[in-house]
Each structure stands twice: as C-alpha cells, then as structure tokens.
Symmetry: C2
Subunit: 330 residues, 2 copies
C-alpha cells in the first residue's frame, strides 16, 4: 500500500482491490466475508446482505439521480446473488444549506425504485454536516434480500459455461462524464441505471440454473470478467464484436481515449450459464434488451486471464483497469 | 420544513425529528418503519436491523476513535432492541490523500470492538472522493442482530415501570467539544463510547424482563426521555439529583452554557423496567458502573411530557433539545 489513499484506490480496479485486501479483509477476515461477492450470504444461505455508499456527482443526470442509483445499486447487488431485495436501510449525510426540494426529489426517486423491487426502507439515519464537510449529499443504502436460487457464485464458473451480457455497455459512465464536463453528445445518451431484480426474477421463474451473475459497475466489464477469471481459476475468452456499444458511448470513448469495457454501468450485468441453458437465457434477456448477447466462452487456455478477440482476428489480454478512471461515478 | 437543510436538522432533537417525519417517513411509510426504534425488527421478530453513518470530528479523541464509534454505535442500536449484534457491513468514504496508517488504525479499532460484540463484518464498500468532497473519512455501519428478548419497545412503558440510567452522562459530547476547541479540562475526561451488548446480555441472562432501552446519543437523555414519553403516551418524572454528572462534564457545561442532559453519549443508556425488577436490575448495572441509578418514575400527570424535579424542590418540563447543538458529534 502507498502511504496515502489516492483516487485510484476507489476505481473498482486493481488499486481498489489492493486497498480492500490489504486493509479491510486483512482485519475483518472471516469465512462469510471471504466468500462475499456482490453481497454476503448469511443465515445458512437464506439471506443476502449488501452495502453501498453513493457519492455521485452531479446528483441529477440523464436517466436517473442519486436516489434511484442508491436503491438500484444495493438492490442489484442482492439480485446478482439470486436474491429478492426485501429490506433496506437508508443513511444520508447532508451538507448544511442543501435544498429541501432537491432532497424531496431524491427521496421520491428512491420510493419509486423501491416499488420496482418490492422492497421497503425499515430503518434510517440522518446526519447534517457543516458546509464544506461533504459535497451536497452522500447516501448509504444497505439491503437484505431473500435468496431465491441458492449456489450462485463467481467461484463456480467452468468450461461448461458461456458468458452473456445483458445489454450495450458504458452508458452510465459516459453519461456522468458528459454531464460533468458539459459535453452535449446527443439527447439519447442516458445512464443505464435500472433495477435488475425483475430480469433476475424472470430468469429464475423460467427455471434457468444460473452459475454466476455480476453487475458491471465501477471498473466495468473489464473488472468484472477479470474477477471471475481469478475467482473460478478459468480463462474467459470474449469476442469484441459481440459486445454492443452505442454510437454515443463509442463517440465519447474515441474523443477522450476511454475504453468502453472499463466504463461503469449501473443496470448492465454479466451472466455465466451452462451452454445448454444459453439459448433460453438469451430469449429472456432479449425480451428486456435487444442488445443482450453471448459474448464469450470459458476455456483453460490462460488461467486467471481474460482474452479478447478483435473483429480483425487479433487477440489481447483484457486487463483489470488501473489508475484514476472516473471518481464519484456512483 | 424550511427551504434548506440546516445543522439543526441533524441535532437528534426537534428539527431532526421534523426532517425524518416530513421527508423520509412520509415517502418510505410502512408498518416496520413505523414501529422502528433504535433498530427495525424484521423477519417476524427474529432479527434487528439498524444503520448509522459516522462523521465525527476529530477522528481520534480521548476514549475512542471513529472506528470504535462506528462499531459501538450500530451494535448498541441492536443491543437496545434486546438483540445480539451478529453481522455488520462497513462502507467507508475516504478523502483523497488520507493517510493509510490512520485508516489502518481506524480499522484495527473496528476489529477490536467487533470482537467485544461477537460480531463480524460480512460485506463492505470503499469509495475514494477528490479532496474537498468529504472531510477525511465517513463510515457507515449497518448491522443485523439476533433478537434474544422479544417485545422490548418504547411504546410499552407504563406507570408500572421505573426509569434507570446506566451511568453518568455527557462524557462523549463534552470530550468531542473539548477536543475540538483545544480545551484541556483534565486527563480523566473521556468519551463513554462503549459496546452495550455485554451489559444487555447480563440483564437478559439474569432473567430481567426489559420494557424498553434507549442509548442516549444525539440529543442526549433529554431527547431519549421525550421520545419515550410521546411513544408510550406517558409522563416521565425524573429527579435531577439522581443523574450523575462528572465534575469535568459539569465544569464544561457551566463554562459554555450547555445542558448535560442534552449532551450526546455513546455508551450510556436508559432502561424502563417494572418496579419489582428495579432492584435486581440496579445490581447488574452497578456491577458495570457505580454511577448507575434509578432516575425516575412513570406517571400520568402530563402525558407526553418529561418533568424534572430539581434538588431544591422545583419542577420544570424537560424539553426536546432544539437548535444546532454540536454538529459532527458522531
């Protein structure tokens, strides 16, 4: 670890993993935490439990706001473990002088998104801090979900699985960046921020046996696939041309030198399912978003690595993102 | 509600109650939240669930630091509902440039205090924000506890109960204030920050049937007693001389015009038990702190009010604290 914490330590990539491993996991070490993925599985597999703090700026952006994001973020972490979001806590830290109307707007967004998940807020905390101690408002939500399908885990992916992606990537990261920098790309660029529980419920209701799921938030698809390759000790090979990227996101990436694969998403997820389940899974995903796609396969070519095949037949390793990326993206 | 949020809206007193009622409860309304006290009771009474964000400044102070406080605060909320703290989440928001060594020190304090509670951290989140977006570090902990004694509730206090206080008051508030202002009162002034689960476990193990418990945090004993009087529709009459205040805390209050009854505590709690249980309860409390005391009784003289009898025989209403009090006390 470096002597001070840098923005890179919150990027969802390599430095972030180092901070979590060397400071937090080292101290808090226990069996449940060791197995914890998007959420921890507790009470003998019956409940999922996850926390997330939201510091996004700006507070309001195309497609969502910090309130919607705060509910989606935590509920999605639960959904990715095959759990139905049930109870949330909501803890807000507000800067003195914050507009009550803006707060009410944020809370209304939360309420609306809670309804999509069929979840309720059961406990809360409200702190107000002097001007300058926090930038406007930070929100923590922590959720408990009821596990509907047991055994979903990033440790169980094998060569029998294929890797699917639920939609086109990078919309959240691109939207936040464009909005922050005052770049007007097009009116159709908006965050993908969405509750994933409805799709997960459809998959489970239709009898799909899910190997693993991961929403590609900070660090994007690159970070998520790399984590999978390490946790399951596999090689993931993906085809670049199968990964949908909208013209707006592509444009922004080209201008600014971003890699869409490392941009944050807030309603886009990866799935690993057995090959024989792939077709049926695709049908369900496509009914939610036409850009859903089977993006790759699992092999044993380079264990703990992700290989990306370009449209021109070349291959490269897709690395874990490093560096600052975009702070305060979520 | 006022047009903007002020520091008073986070004081644990009247304005704080207004913000919670008019903005959060209004939107999130549900049966569990309505009954929620220090923690929500979920899963048919089996589990307690509570959240707290910690913004205290300074981060290190006599008797504790933000890490110990973050574990005590949430575990105590669970303990006050008669629950054993079991699983915690830990979400930190760190300012870019924060010293890694200080972070490690904070995390070590958390680990130590988790052990006192027999609780584990099972899930976490780490955000790093640019300089100036947050003051050093804020920590959210959210906990799940296993309810050991059911039916503990601030709604059930009656004239058959007496009110007890576990120790002398105001130490946390006085310590933070003195430390922030650079006032050197005496080396013996230190925060009361402590995990209350061990005392609660002793009470339950000894067969005490607890009516209600409340740790007197923001807003102090005044806020807690006033909440009880309203929730149970009772009058609480307390004797000022029964409430222990150390010379150090009293000195600071006299110099600065604070009321010790409104100062925050972080390891001091109120209990309501039936009269016939009072003596046995006192024995247990005294084994932890000699300043424990039966401070008052429940009557129907002025419903929803707290009356304080002074040592000189005069009576006054003890009101809910209002105004700014001390921001960033916890």
């Amino acid at each position: 670890m470096t002597k001070t914490i840098s923005l890179a330590h919150g990027n969802g990539g390599a430095e972030n993993n180092e901070l979590i491993r060397d400071v937090f996991y080292k101290a808090f070490k226990n069996d449940i935490l060791d197995k914890s993925e998007d959420a921890a599985i507790i009470e003998g597999g019956r409940l999922a439990f996850s926390t997330d703090s939201f510091t996004v700026t700006p507070l309001f952006f195309a497609g969502a706001d910090i309130g919607k994001l705060a509910v989606c973020g935590t509920c999605n972490d639960l959904a990715m473990m095959g759990a139905k979001p049930k109870y949330l806590t909501c803890s807000v830290i507000i800067e003195e002088g914050f507009e009550t109307r803006e707060l009410e707007k944020i809370v209304r967004s939360m309420k609306k998104e809670l309804e999509v998940n069929g979840a309720i807020v059961v406990s809360g905390d409200t702190k107000v801090v002097p001007r300058g101690s926090v930038d406007k408002i930070f929100i923590n939500t922590t959720g408990i979900g009821e596990v509907l399908q047991e055994g979903i885990s990033s440790n169980n992916i094998s060569c029998d699985d294929v890797v699917l992606l639920s939609r086109d990537i990078g919309c959240h990261g691109a939207t936040i960046f464009a909005s922050r920098e005052g770049i007007e790309l097009s009116s159709s660029l908006m965050s993908d921020c969405t509750s994933l529980y409805p799709i997960v419920k459809s998959l489970i209701d239709e009898g799909i046996k899910i190997t693993a799921m991961r929403d590609a938030t900070r660090g994007g698809v690159s970070a998520a696939l790399n984590e999978w390759s390490k946790q399951s000790n596999i090689c993931i090979e993906i085809d670049e041309e199968k990964i949908a990227v909208s013209d707006e996101v592509m444009g922004l990436c080209e201008i600014l030198g971003f890699d869409a694969l490392s941009l944050a998403n807030e309603g886009t997820f990866l799935l690993a399912v057995k090959k024989e389940e792939a077709e049926k899974t695709m049908e369900i995903l496509k009914s939610y978003n036409k850009n859903a796609s089977i993006i790759g396969k699992v092999t044993d070519k380079h264990l703990k690595k992700v290989i990306i095949n370009s449209a021109w037949g070349t291959q490269r390793f897709l690395d874990v993102p490093t560096g600052e990326l975009l702070p305060r993206i979520c």
